[in-house]
Symmetry: C2
Subunit: 125 residues, 2 copies
DNA sequence: CCTCCATATCATTCCTCGCTGATATGTTAT
DNA sequence: ATAACATATCAGCGAGGAATGATATGGAGG
């Protein structure tokens, strides 16, 4: 049947939700933090050590991830321990890796967005 | 013992790949296009109609998606027909929706990024 | 109480990226 | 060849957001 998006509003809402989620994940620092948390909970300075990011930077991204419900925090003495809030997150990351097994070459060659220190001139979008 | 990421380079590379992939998906227009292609291949002007985006805009995003290997194009007369290149992409989107079932509330409330016409003042990151 | 350590917040700066409008390429038909 | 349609490209504008450096909060200990 013709689904010509007569009632696009709920669809648009769902799309914006997805976009927001993906944007939350579309940052090397945040992905590095999630990767560090893969093996278990960590306190902030441990995350700083493992990722090599600055402390305020980690703190900002942790707040970002926390606001999005992707990580949870708990005070432990003067430390704050963070952990991944839901196993679905790691499922999503695994699915992303599965897709990358297919499109990794193109993604690497894609010059539309720059991530960190990608070399080469960006494409004028 | 301390796993202070002595050989972080390959890990970093993988993280940047993921970031690039997620950034490719972190845009409402591109997600709308992928959503339009969910039911099957479409030519460009059909995508324009269904998404309500302008033609150059759709064309730009299609190039973007194509560069990343997420869609494939084939000439059909004077039209160009686009389709999702791999079923893993839809798998990833489904996994994202599964995660959204858990964190949708937080994502919606998250003011760190704005998507399209999100109301309210953005948080100063 | 004052200091040290761990973490969070703030303001500024810079750069990336998406949208728009005009135009170019390309294909088919008359 | 020319017209009409479909798609792609380009330059420029504008805003969002990430990193930085300094600073604020907050708990533990001497």
């Amino acid at each position: 049947m013709e689904e010509i998006a007569t009632d696009r509003n709920p669809v648009e809402a769902a799309i914006e939700q997805r976009a927001k989620l993906f944007r939350g994940l579309a940052d090397p620092s945040r992905l590095a933090i999630l990767d560090a948390l893969r093996t278990g909970p960590l306190v902030v300075h441990e995350i700083v050590e493992r990722t090599g990011l600055t402390q305020p930077n980690v703190s900002n991204h942790l707040r970002c991830l926390s606001d999005c419900g992707l990580v949870e925090s708990a005070r432990d003495g003067r430390f704050v321990r963070y952990k991944v809030s839901s196993p679905q997150i790691m499922d999503l990351l695994r699915e992303a890796d599965a897709l990358l097994n297919v499109v990794a070459e193109d993604i690497k060659a894609c010059r539309n967005y720059r991530v960190d220190g990608s070399d080469g001139p960006p494409r004028r979008a």
